[in-house]
C-alpha cells in the first residue's frame, strides 16, 4: 500500500469536473445532460465502492489507510488528504445516497438544470473533500465551500421566502465558519502547524485557557452547523424552502458530514479527554438531549410538511450527538448505526414528500387532503419510512433505536433513554397527524382475490424514475433493517479508528 494514493484526488476532482461539464450542458439535450449527471455520480460511487472492495482485507484488519499530499512538504500550507476506515464509511454512505438523489433530481428539476447540477456537484466535491482532508486549513476551505454553494441551491426557486431562508442560512453558516477560523488561527499561532495529526500530537503543550478557547470556538462552530437547540433557527427554514432533493441533501447527508467533522475534531485531533477535563462533555450531552426533545416538540406544531421533517431532523441529530458524547464503544455503535439509518430515512422522506407535494397547492397540512389516495404506493412508501423513523421493525430505525437506547442504559444515563423513548412517541403523533390528513376522503373498492393479486403488478409497471428512487429508499430501509449486520464490519472498524487515534497520527506523520 503506497502512501501516495492518487485515487483520493480523483474522488474530489471527479465531481468538480462533472460540475464544469454540467455548467456548459445547457447546450446539450436533456437526455445527454441527465446521462452525464448520473454517470458522474455513478463513477464516484463505483470508485468508492471499488476502494472498499479492493482493500477489503485491510479494512477487515483495521489497517486500511490511504493518503496523498500536494504542495511542499515542509511548509504549513501543504494540502494533505487521508482516508481511514471512518472516512471510508462516511464516504461510502454519503456517495450512495447522493447517487440516488441525483437520479431523483434529473426528473424533478425542470428549470435551469445546468446551474442546479453544477452547484450540486460542487457541493458533492466539497463534501468529499471535507471527509478526506487531513489538515485544518483545507477543512475550513471545504466547509466554507459547502456553505457558499448550498446557499444558491436553497433559493433556487427565487421567491421571497426562499431568499430569506437562504440569507439566514448564509449568515449563520458564515458565522459558524468564522468561529472555526478563529480556532484554526489560534492553533496556528500556538503550534505553527495545521496538520491534524501534528496538532493532535502536541495539543497538550498549549496552555489550559487557550485550550479552552480553542475547543469552545470549535464547539460553537459545529453546534451552529449542526443546528443544536439554541442556535437552530436557520435549519427548519432553510431545509424546507429548497427543492426536495436539496432538502434531502442538506438534512440527510450534510448534517452527517458535520457529525463526521465533529468526530474527527474531538476524537482524532483533540482528544476527548480534554473535553472531559473541562467538564464540557456532560454539558454538550445535556444540551444535545434538550435539543432533541425541543426538535420533536416543535415538529408537533409545524403545519408545513417539509418543516415538520426538518424539525424531526433536529430531534434525531441531537440524539446522535448525545449518544456519541457518551464516549463508549456501545455508544459509537448506536450512533454510527443511527447516522446510517437517519441518512436513508430522512433522504427517503424528503424525496417522497417532494414527489407528493408536486401537485398540491402549498405545503400546508390543509392542502394535503387525499394525497394518500392519489399516489397510493408512494404514500405507502412514505408511511413505511415514517414507521422506520419511530422505530418499528423490520425497518432499520428499530435496530438503530435499539442500540442507541442500549448505549444510554448501559451508561446508566436515564434522561437520555427517556428522550429517545419520548421522542419516538411524539414522532408517532406528528406523523399520524399528516397521515390521517392524507387519507381524509375515504374511497373503498371491492376486488376479488385474483384481481387484487394482479393489481400488484402496478408496482413493476412504474415508469416514473422519481417513484423508483423512492421505492429504492424504502426497500433499502427494509432490507438493512433485516440485515443490519452487514454494517457490523465497517462500523466496528470505524469505531476502532475513533478509539485509537494514535494509529491515524502515526500514519500521517510517518509518511
Amino acid at each position: 500500500m503506497s502512501w501516495m494514493n492518487i485515487e483520493l484526488i480523483l474522488l474530489i476532482a471527479l465531481p468538480a469536473l462533472t460540475a464544469v461539464i454540467m455548467y456548459f450542458s445547457k447546450y446539450f439535450k436533456q437526455r445527454l445532460r441527465n446521462f452525464f449527471a448520473i454517470t458522474g455520480a455513478g463513477i464516484e460511487l463505483y470508485l468508492i465502492f471499488s476502494l472498499f472492495v479492493v482493500n477489503y482485507e485491510a479494512v477487515k484488519k483495521s489497517d486500511f489507510f490511504l493518503q496523498y499530499t500536494i504542495g511542499y512538504q515542509n511548509t504549513p500550507f501543504v494540502i494533505n488528504f487521508a482516508m481511514d476506515n471512518l472516512s471510508l464509511l462516511f464516504s461510502l454512505i454519503v456517495t450512495g445516497a447522493v447517487f440516488l438523489i441525483v437520479i431523483f433530481s434529473t426528473q424533478y428539476i425542470r428549470d435551469k438544470e445546468h446551474r442546479y447540477f453544477a452547484l450540486f456537484f460542487l457541493v458533492l466535491a466539497a463534501i468529499q473533500g471535507s471527509i478526506l482532508t487531513a489538515d485544518l486549513f483545507t477543512l475550513y476551505l471545504f466547509i466554507e465551500t459547502i456553505t457558499i454553494f448550498t446557499t444558491p441551491l436553497i433559493s433556487f426557486k427565487k421567491t421571497e421566502e426562499t431568499t430569506r431562508a437562504a440569507m439566514q442560512y448564509l449568515f449563520y453558516g458564515i458565522t459558524g465558519g468564522i468561529f472555526f477560523f478563529i480556532s484554526m488561527i489560534l492553533i496556528y499561532f500556538k503550534l505553527g502547524t495545521l496538520k491534524m495529526a501534528a496538532v493532535a500530537e502536541s495539543f497538550s503543550l498549549i496552555s489550559a485557557p487557550m485550550q479552552l478557547t480553542i475547543i469552545i470556538f470549535f464547539l460553537l462552530a459545529l453546534i451552529i452547523k449542526l443546528g443544536i437547540f439554541p442556535i437552530h433557527f436557520w435549519l427548519p427554514r432553510a431545509h424546507s424552502a429548497c427543492p426536495a432533493p436539496i432538502s434531502a441533501l442538506l438534512s440527510g447527508v450534510l448534517l452527517k458530514v458535520y457529525l463526521y467533522i465533529f468526530m474527527r475534531l474531538f476524537w482524532t485531533m483533540i482528544s476527548f479527554d480534554f473535553l472531559v477535563n473541562l467538564h464540557l462533555n456532560a454539558f454538550v450531552l445535556d444540551l444535545a438531549l434538550v435539543s432533541s426533545l425541543i426538535g420533536h416538540i416543535f415538529a408537533l406544531q409545524a403545519d408545513n410538511l417539509k418543516k415538520m421533517l426538518a424539525y424531526s431532523s433536529i430531534g434525531h441529530i441531537g440524539m446522535i450527538l448525545a449518544v456519541l458524547m457518551l464516549n463508549t464503544e456501545a455508544a459509537f455503535y448506536g450512533g454510527l448505526l443511527h447516522i446510517i439509518a437517519h441518512l436513508l430515512m430522512k433522504s427517503g422522506l424528503f424525496l417522497s414528500s417532494g414527489y407528493l407535494l408536486q401537485r398540491t397547492l402549498s405545503h400546508h397540512i390543509d392542502d394535503l387532503k387525499g394525497i394518500g389516495h392519489k399516489n397510493r404506493l408512494v404514500f405507502i412508501a412514505f408511511i413505511t419510512i415514517c414507521l422506520g423513523t419511530i422505530g418499528m421493525p423490520p425497518l432499520i430505525g428499530f435496530v438503530s433505536k435499539w442500540y442507541v437506547l442500549l448505549a444510554f442504559l448501559k451508561a446508566r444515563h436515564f434522561f437520555g433513554a427517556f428522550v429517545v423513548g419520548a421522542g419516538s412517541i411524539i414522532a408517532l403523533i406528528y406523523y399520524l397527524r399528516y397521515i390521517s390528513q392524507a387519507y381524509e376522503t375515504v374511497k373503498s373498492e371491492s376486488l376479488s382475490l385474483k384481481e387484487e393479486f394482479f393489481s400488484l403488478r402496478e408496482i413493476f409497471n412504474s415508469t416514473n424514475i422519481m417513484k423508483t428512487v423512492i421505492y429504492i429508499f424504502t426497500l433499502l430501509v427494509i432490507f438493512f433493517g433485516l440485515s443490519y449486520q452487514l454494517f457490523e464490519l465497517p462500523v466496528n472498524t470505524a469505531i476502532f479508528e475513533l478509539l485509537n487515534p494514535q494509529k491515524y497520527i502515526e500514519l500521517v506523520l510517518g509518511g
Partner: protein, 513 residues
C-alpha cells in the same frame, strides 16, 4: 447475514411448555383464518398476508430467548394486528397503534434496562424493580388493570375474526412472557393483586353489559385476571394452571368471538337479548358457544374448571381463600350463564307476517369454513378438559393430579341453582343497552369529570374529541413554546453571544454547582 440467521435460529428454545403454547397459537390462528374466509369480503389477499406475518412473529415472541428478537417479533405482531383493524375502521387503527406503541416504548425501555443490568437472555429476573418495569411494559399491551381501558372498546369494535385473534391470543403473549421472567418459586405480589382487581372489576362490567362483544371483551379482561393472579402466586401448580388457563381461554374466547360474528350477521345485532332461539336457528354455532361458555364459567369437567382448580389449589388453603375463589367463580359463571339463558329463550314476536317470513330464512349462509373453525375450537376445549397433561405429556405431572371432581360438581350445582334463581327473578338481568363504547366516550367522560369539578356538566362535541385531545391540545401547547423561543431575528442572533459566554465561563459555572 449468515451470522444473524444463526443467532436467530439458536435463540429458539424448545423446552418446558412453550412449544405447546406455540402450537396452540398456530391452531387458533388457523381457526380465525378459516372464520375470516367468508367474513372478510374486501382485500382478502392483504388480510391473509397480515395473518401470516402475525403467525410467524407470534411464534418468535413465544419461542425466542433473545431480547432483540423478542421485541422485534412483538412489534411485528403489533403492526400486523394494527392493520387488521382497518377492515373495521381506520379510526381504530390509529387509536390502537398509538396505545400499543406507547406500551411497547415502556416495554423496550424495560427490556433494555434488563439487558443493561446483566440479564443477557430472557429468563427469570430476580430484581423486583425490573420485574415491576416489565410488568408495566406489558400492562398496556396485555390489558393489566388500569391499563385495560382500551381493550373493551377496541376488541368489541374490531371485525369478529380480528377480535378473536386479539382476544384469543395477542393479549396472552404478555402473560407468556411473564411466565418466563417471573421466578417460579416466588411469584410477584403486585401482579397477584392486579389480577384480583381485574377479575372482580371486569367480571362485574361483563355482567353489566348487554352487548355480546363488549361482554366478551370484559370477560377477556376478567379471565386474564385469573392468569395474572396465578403467575403472581408462584409455584409449580400455579404456573401450570396459568398455562392451562391460557390455552383453555384461548380456545374458548376464539370460538366465542367467531360465533358472535356469525350471530351478528344472522340477527343483525350484537345485543344478547336479540339472539332468540339461536339454539334451533344456528345449532352448531350455539353448541360451540355453550361449550366455550361452560369452560369460561368453570363448569365441572370442562377445561376452565381444571385450570381454575389448579390456580385455586396453589393458594394457601383456608376458609378465606375458599370463599373468595367460590365467589370469583360465581361471577364468571353468572355472566357466562346469562348468554346461555338468552339463546334458549323463544318468545319471538311473530305477530306480523313480515317478521314471520324473515324468521323463516337464515340471513347468513352456513359456510363449511365457519363450522370447521367452530368444531376445531370445541375439540380444543374437549382435549384440554379430558387430557390436562396435554398430548405428548408436556404437563405430565397433571395426569395423576386429583382435581376433586365431586366438590367441583357440588359447586357447579350450587352455581346453577343460584343462577337459575337470579335469572328467573330478575328477568335474565335484562339491562339497558349502553352507548357504544369507544375511547372518545371515555375521554369525554374524563373531560366532563374535570370540567364538572368547577361547574355543571356540559355536553361536549365528541365527534373528534380523541383527535382534539391528541392533536389540538398538544399542538397548541407546543405552539406556545415555539412562539416563546421564536422571537424576531435579532433576538435569535443574541443566542450566539449568550451561548458563547456560557461556554467560555463554563468552568466557573461548573465550579459554582
Amino acid at each position: 447475514m449468515a451470522v444473524i440467521w444463526q443467532q436467530f435460529l439458536s435463540s429458539f428454545q424448545f423446552d418446558s411448555y412453550f412449544p405447546l403454547l406455540a402450537e396452540v397459537g398456530v391452531i387458533l390462528t388457523l381457526m380465525t383464518a378459516l372464520a375470516a374466509w367468508n367474513y372478510i369480503k374486501e382485500n382478502k389477499f392483504w388480510y391473509y398476508i397480515l395473518t401470516f406475518v402475525y403467525l410467524l412473529s407470534s411464534l418468535v415472541v413465544i419461542l425466542t430467548n433473545d431480547w432483540f428478537f423478542f421485541l422485534f417479533g412483538w412489534e411485528m405482531v403489533t403492526l400486523a394486528t394494527t392493520f387488521m383493524l382497518a377492515w373495521s375502521d381506520w379510526k381504530l387503527v390509529r387509536q390502537y397503534f398509538v396505545i400499543q406503541f406507547s406500551g411497547s416504548s415502556i416495554l423496550l425501555f424495560g427490556a433494555l434496562a434488563a439487558n443493561a443490568f446483566g440479564y443477557a437472555k430472557i429468563g427469570a429476573i430476580n430484581s423486583i424493580p425490573l420485574q415491576f418495569l416489565l410488568i408495566m411494559g406489558i400492562g398496556m399491551k396485555s390489558g393489566l388493570f388500569l391499563f385495560h381501558f382500551w381493550l373493551p372498546p377496541i376488541h368489541s369494535e374490531a371485525p369478529a375474526p380480528v377480535s378473536a385473534i386479539l382476544s384469543g391470543w395477542v393479549v396472552k403473549l404478555g402473560y407468556i412472557f411473564l411466565l418466563k421472567i417471573i421466578p417460579l418459586e416466588k411469584g410477584n405480589t403486585f401482579l397477584f393483586l392486579l389480577g384480583l382487581a381485574m377479575v372482580i372489576y371486569a367480571g362485574w362490567q361483563a355482567l353489566r353489559s348487554a352487548d355480546l362483544k363488549i361482554m366478551l371483551a370484559y370477560s377477556t379482561v376478567s379471565q386474564l385476571g385469573f392468569i395474572a393472579l396465578a403467575i403472581g402466586t408462584g409455584g409449580k401448580y400455579a404456573f401450570y394452571g396459568a398455562v392451562l388457563h391460557i390455552i383453555a381461554h384461548g380456545f374458548a374466547k376464539t370460538t366465542l368471538f367467531i360465533s358472535s360474528g356469525i350471530w351478528q350477521k344472522e340477527y343483525g345485532s350484537r345485543i344478547i337479548y336479540d339472539f332468540k332461539d339461536a339454539i334451533s336457528r344456528r345449532p352448531v354455532t350455539s353448541a360451540a358457544a355453550i361449550m366455550s361458555l361452560a369452560s369460561l364459567g368453570a363448569v365441572v369437567f370442562t377445561a376452565g374448571y381444571k385450570s381454575k382448580y389448579l390456580i385455586k389449589s396453589a393458594q394457601t388453603p383456608g376458609i378465606l381463600v375458599t370463599t373468595v375463589f367460590f365467589l370469583l367463580g360465581f361471577l364468571s359463571f353468572l355472566y357466562a350463564a346469562r348468554v346461555i339463558y338468552w339463546i334458549f329463550i323463544k318468545d319471538q314476536d311473530y305477530s306480523n307476517f313480515l317478521s314471520d317470513l324473515k324468521h323463516g330464512f337464515n340471513h347468513y349462509q352456513i359456510y363449511t369454513a365457519d363450522v370447521l373453525a367452530l368444531i376445531t375450537g370445541t375439540l380444543g376445549i374437549i382435549v384440554v378438559s379430558f387430557w390436562p397433561e396435554m398430548p405428548a405429556g408436556v404437563l405430565a405431572s397433571l395426569a395423576d393430579k386429583d382435581f376433586h371432581l365431586i366438590s367441583g360438581l357440588r359447586d357447579s350445582l350450587i352455581y346453577l341453582a343460584l343462577a337459575a334463581y337470579l335469572f328467573v327473578n330478575n328477568n335474565g338481568f335484562k339491562i339497558k343497552v349502553r352507548d357504544n363504547l369507544s375511547l372518545e366516550n371515555y375521554l369525554q367522560a374524563f373531560l366532563n369529570f374535570v370540567y364538572g369539578l368547577s361547574r355543571k356538566s356540559v355536553k361536549f362535541d365528541t365527534e373528534k374529541i380523541f383527535e382534539a385531545f391528541f392533536y389540538n391540545a398538544i399542538f397548541n401547547a407546543s405552539k406556545k413554546l415555539y412562539n416563546l423561543v421564536y422571537q424576531d431575528f435579532t433576538i435569535q442572533l443574541l443566542w450566539i453571544p449568550i451561548f458563547m459566554t456560557v461556554l467560555l465561563l463554563w468552568q466557573q459555572i461548573y465550579a459554582y454547582f
